[in-house]
Every structure is written in structure tokens, then in C-alpha cells.
């Protein structure tokens, strides 16, 4: 029995040593990151390439959730939860539901025009957008999160309710107006 245990210990220790020498911690971290990244990116690609618009919308949700997981993986669960709740839980559902409720003759080919002209136009626009974003993010000097913020939630709360209270409230009012406007429009459509 003891012999067997010793053998197992030996194998385990050898394995751990090898893993350490190969920098396994970093490797695992990176592989998880890349896995989540690929999920998001492939889902996003699927949004563009799918022929069925409902599938596109569902893949959009997958992409949102992948990004949310990335946030959580990068130690900011609050942002991740917000991503889940707002994008995965509300925005995506509304998009999917709106698409499902709209009837088409053939759901399998319901995505937008697939002519070469449209595709080229889309490629140019998205390429330009991608360029802008990447330039912007490359040129920005990212700072380490300052230690004084402490716990990310309380830090966020402090900032939002003191320093940035005005923009916060303005955004809230704006959303409220948008909501009421949407209600009014929807009501009008129903009556006509």
C-alpha cells in the first residue's frame, strides 16, 4: 500500500515540477482567456454570417455572454454581472423577441441582402470602425486601477454617487424619456 502511495506521489511531484518548469499557470490562464475570446469572436462572426436572422440574434447573445465571462475572469465580477444582466438578460432578449415576432416566409434565409455590393460596403464600414477603435485603444494610456478605490463595487458606488452624480442622473433621465417615448409609439401603433 505504502509502495503504491509513494509511486503516486512520485508521479504527481514529477508532473507538478514539469508543469512549473513549463510555466503552466500562465499557460492555463492564457488558454482560458483565449477560449473565452474565441467564443466571443466566433459568435460575433456568426452574427454576421448566419443566414437565419434569429440564429444571428442568438449568437449575439452568446457573444455578449462570452464578453461577460471575460470580465469575470479578469477579476471584475461587477462589470461582468452588469454585462450579463443588461446585455444578456435584457437587450438580447428584446432583440430576439422582436425578430421572432416578425413573420417572414422563409426563416432560413431571413438575413439582410447578401449581394456582393452590400457585403463590400459592410466590410468597408466595419473595417473603418475597427481601425478607429484599435487606434484609440492603442493610443490610450491605461492606468492601473488605483488602490484607493478598494473593493470595486464600493469604489464604483462612491464615484457614481459623488463625483459623477450629474452624468449618472442625466443618463437615468435620458433612459426614462426613451422608455416613455417607446411606450407612446408602441401604443399609437396598436391603435392604428
Amino acid at each position: 500500500m505504502n509502495e503504491l502511495l509513494k509511486l503516486v506521489h512520485g508521479v504527481v511531484n514529477w508532473g507538478m515540477d514539469t508543469a512549473e518548469s513549463m510555466n503552466a499557470g500562465v499557460l492555463i490562464d492564457a488558454s482560458v482567456f483565449y477560449a473565452l475570446m474565441w467564443v466571443s469572436v466566433l459568435a460575433a462572426l456568426g452574427v454576421v454570417l448566419c443566414r437565419n436572422v434569429v440564429h444571428s440574434a442568438l449568437l449575439l447573445t452568446a457573444s455578449f455572454i462570452g464578453v461577460g465571462c471575460l470580465y469575470i475572469y479578469m477579476d471584475s465580477p461587477f462589470i461582468g454581472a452588469v454585462q450579463f444582466l443588461v446585455y444578456g438578460g435584457a437587450v438580447a432578449i428584446l432583440i430576439v423577441m422582436a425578430l421572432m415576432l416578425t413573420r417572414r416566409d422563409d426563416m432560413a434565409h431571413s438575413n439582410l441582402s447578401r449581394s456582393l455590393f452590400c457585403q463590400a460596403g459592410a466590410a468597408v464600414i466595419s473595417g473603418a470602425f475597427f481601425l478607429c477603435i484599435s487606434v484609440a485603444s492603442l493610443m490610450t494610456q491605461f492606468r492601473e486601477m488605483s488602490a484607493e478605490l478598494g473593493d470595486s463595487v464600493t469604489g464604483l458606488a462612491d464615484m457614481m454617487l459623488t463625483k459623477y452624480i450629474l452624468p449618472f442622473e442625466v443618463a437615468a433621465v435620458l433612459l426614462l424619456i426613451a422608455m416613455i417615448g417607446a411606450l407612446v409609439i408602441a401604443k399609437g401603433a396598436h391603435e392604428s
Partner: protein, 365 residues
């Protein structure tokens, strides 16, 4: 801007809440019902045609299969029609026994109604309770005729056999039990806020609409019209008993429910009076072995549990009826379904199916 579109939903014939094989074609705008079209005939067995090839006495068991929840009332109606046609005088004791079993069956049928309404509104526990108590009545019938579902107890000229003292004793016991279980339903169903809000003000029907659809039974009484054949025609020995015609006020589902709920008490009252005054004597009139009613025709109606049950029989003087037509209350009541559903939600349509209380065996005949 693109408009919205309506769509058709076929509720039934296989659907948990259409009470058998009824199919209702709902025209829907979202969850709002624009129209409801009942489509029936899935249980059509041609009983009217079958009765033409049977003798009058052989025809009685077929009526059991019409409204199989209240077979006694159907037997009663058919036998009354045949007796009227053949001029048979039914002994008093038989009439009393008939009234007793018919009213007991009415209670049983209304209990099924309460239970099925409860389960359609999601309160499946309510159904189990009513079926538990209906079981007592079925046991009584088992005692009196040996059957629990299709009795064939009321025969042309009287009843199949006399009631035993044990039956009378147990029926008294059951009548004492009636207020007890009714109190229980009050607790679990009537007092429930959700139950109330699901029924009050839903499927409202005015007196005029109910009359124009020729609705009968609890459905018309719920609108406030005291139309009860037992009172209006005063057939059999009903005029001797003291009972009220229960009516509603608003003609909504709540009233339809309440009318049936309170009718149980009235029926219990009739049964008690009939038991108290049960006369001695024969339970069967002298009916010739081969019944040949004289040439002629008859339209006889009785108050079934679901409304006015009419039998139109044409005799050509032979042993078999020339033509039998059955005026089934459920069938005629179905005309009101559209009015009861239109403008309400899918959830209300289920309550409306229940409240109209159709029995497909009767609708399709």
C-alpha cells in the same frame, strides 16, 4: 410602419381543457381573442339514428351515453317522453324515486363542473375534493342500481328496482354531509382572491344575448332569468317540493359558478323532501312486454343538468320509434361561446369553456 397580424389557434380536439374532443378555433391578436368558433362532431355516434332501429325500451341505455355525467336525468327525460307517447301512468313512488336520483345526479354533475372549473384555473386540488364527494353519490347509485356511470335505472313506466332502506339511510347521511363539503369548497375556492378575479366580470352576457342564443340551464339563470323547466313546466312531482330557482345577476363566469354552487343546496333540499315524503306503492307501472305506442308524436322536455333536455319522438305505431330527435342543451348552449370569448384573453377562454359546461357526448350526440 408594418401592421400587426392576427393568427389562428386551434384549441383542441386534443387539449387538456376543452372537456373532451371539442375543437375551438380561436382568432387571436396576441393574447386577445377576436373570435372563437366551436367545431364539434368528434364524438358523433349517431344516437338519433341508432334509436330508430331499437325498440323504445332498448333505447333507454343509449340516453345514458349522451350526457354521461348525469345519466339519470337523460333516462328521466327519455322515459317521460315515451310514457307521454304511450300514455303510461307512472306510480307515485316511482316518480319520487326518479326525482331523488335525478337530483342526486344533478349534484354529482355540478360537483364535476366545480372540479373541472377549478382544474382549468390551475387549482387541481379543488378537483380532487369535488371528485372525492362525487364518489359518495356514485356509491349511492351503485347501491341502488349496481352501476356507477351509465345507470339505465329509470325505465319506461317506473324504475328498475325499488330502493332499499339502506339507500335511504345513506342518502340522509349524505345530505347531512352536503353543507360540510360545500363549506370546504368555499374555503379553498370561493374565498380565494385569485379565483374570484379570474371569474368576476369575465365572459359577461346580457339577458338579451343569452335569450337570443337560446341558452338554457345554469347559463341562462346566471344572467338573471329564472328559466328552470322544473318550475316552468312543473313536470313530474316537482311542483310538490319547495325549492328556489337560483339566479345570478351579471351573467359573468362568477355567476355561472355561483348558480351551480347554490343549485347543489336546492337539489339537496328537493332530495330531502322527496325522501321524507316517499310514498309506499309499486315502483313500476304495468307496461306491456312489447310496447307499441299509438301513432303520433311528442315533444317532452325536462331540466337536465346543463339545461333544457328535449326529446322529440315520432311513432308510426310500430315497436320502434320512427324518428327521435334530442334537443341537447350543451349543443345549443355552444352558440354562446363566441360571445363569451370575444374580447377576452386566452386564459379567459378556458374559463369560458368550463363555465358553459359542455359535455361532448351530449354536444355531438
Amino acid at each position: 410602419m408594418a401592421g400587426t397580424e392576427t393568427y389562428t389557434l386551434n384549441m383542441g380536439p386534443q387539449h387538456p381543457s376543452t372537456h373532451g374532443v371539442l375543437r375551438v378555433q380561436l382568432e387571436l391578436d396576441g393574447e386577445n381573442i377576436l373570435s372563437a368558433k366551436p367545431i364539434m362532431g368528434y364524438l358523433h355516434r349517431g344516437i338519433e339514428k341508432l334509436l330508430e332501429s331499437r325498440t323504445y325500451v332498448q333505447g333507454v341505455p343509449y340516453t345514458d351515453r349522451l350526457d354521461y355525467v348525469s345519466s339519470m336525468n337523460n333516462n328521466f327525460g327519455f322515459c317521460r317522453a315515451v310514457e307521454e307517447l304511450a300514455g303510461i301512468e307512472v306510480p307515485e313512488r316511482a316518480e319520487y324515486i326518479r326525482v331523488i336520483v335525478a337530483e342526486l345526479n344533478r349534484i354529482a354533475s355540478h360537483l364535476v363542473f366545480i372540479g373541472s372549473l377549478a382544474i382549468d384555473l390551475g387549482a387541481s386540488t379543488g378537483m380532487l375534493y369535488t371528485f372525492r364527494d362525487r364518489e359518495e353519490i356514485l356509491d349511492l347509485f351503485n347501491l341502488v342500481c349496481g352501476a356507477r356511470m351509465t345507470f339505465h335505472y329509470i325505465r319506461v313506466g317506473g324504475v328498475n328496482r325499488d330502493v332499499q332502506p339502506e339507500f335511504i339511510e345513506k342518502t340522509y347521511k349524505f345530505l347531512e354531509h352536503v353543507p360540510v363539503f360545500m363549506e370546504e369548497y368555499k374555503k379553498i375556492l370561493l374565498g380565494n382572491e385569485i379565483f374570484m378575479s379570474r371569474l368576476k366580470g369575465i365572459s359577461k352576457m346580457s339577458k338579451e344575448t343569452a335569450l337570443s342564443h337560446n341558452m338554457t340551464g345554469p347559463n341562462i339563470r346566471a344572467t338573471g332569468i329564472p328559466y328552470d323547466i322544473r318550475k316552468v313546466d312543473g313536470y313530474s312531482v316537482y311542483p310538490r317540493f319547495d325549492f328556489n330557482v337560483v339566479t345570478g345577476k351579471n351573467g359573468d363566469n362568477w355567476d355561472r359558478f355561483n348558480v351551480r354552487y347554490n343549485e347543489i343546496f336546492e337539489s339537496a333540499k328537493i332530495v330531502r323532501q322527496a325522501l321524507d315524503g316517499l310514498p309506499e306503492g309499486p315502483f313500476m307501472a304495468k307496461v306491456p312486454k312489447v310496447l307499441r305506442p299509438p301513432k303520433g308524436e311528442v315533444f317532452s322536455r325536462t331540466e337536465g343538468t346543463r339545461g333544457e333536455l328535449g326529446f322529440y319522438i315520432v311513432s308510426d305505431g310500430s315497436t320502434k320509434p320512427y324518428r327521435v330527435h334530442i334537443r341537447r342543451p350543451s349543443f345549443v348552449n355552444m352558440q354562446g361561446l363566441n360571445d363569451m370569448c370575444r374580447g377576452y384573453l386566452i386564459g379567459d377562454s378556458v374559463a369560458a369553456f368550463s363555465a358553459i359546461d359542455p359535455l361532448m357526448g351530449e354536444v355531438d350526440c
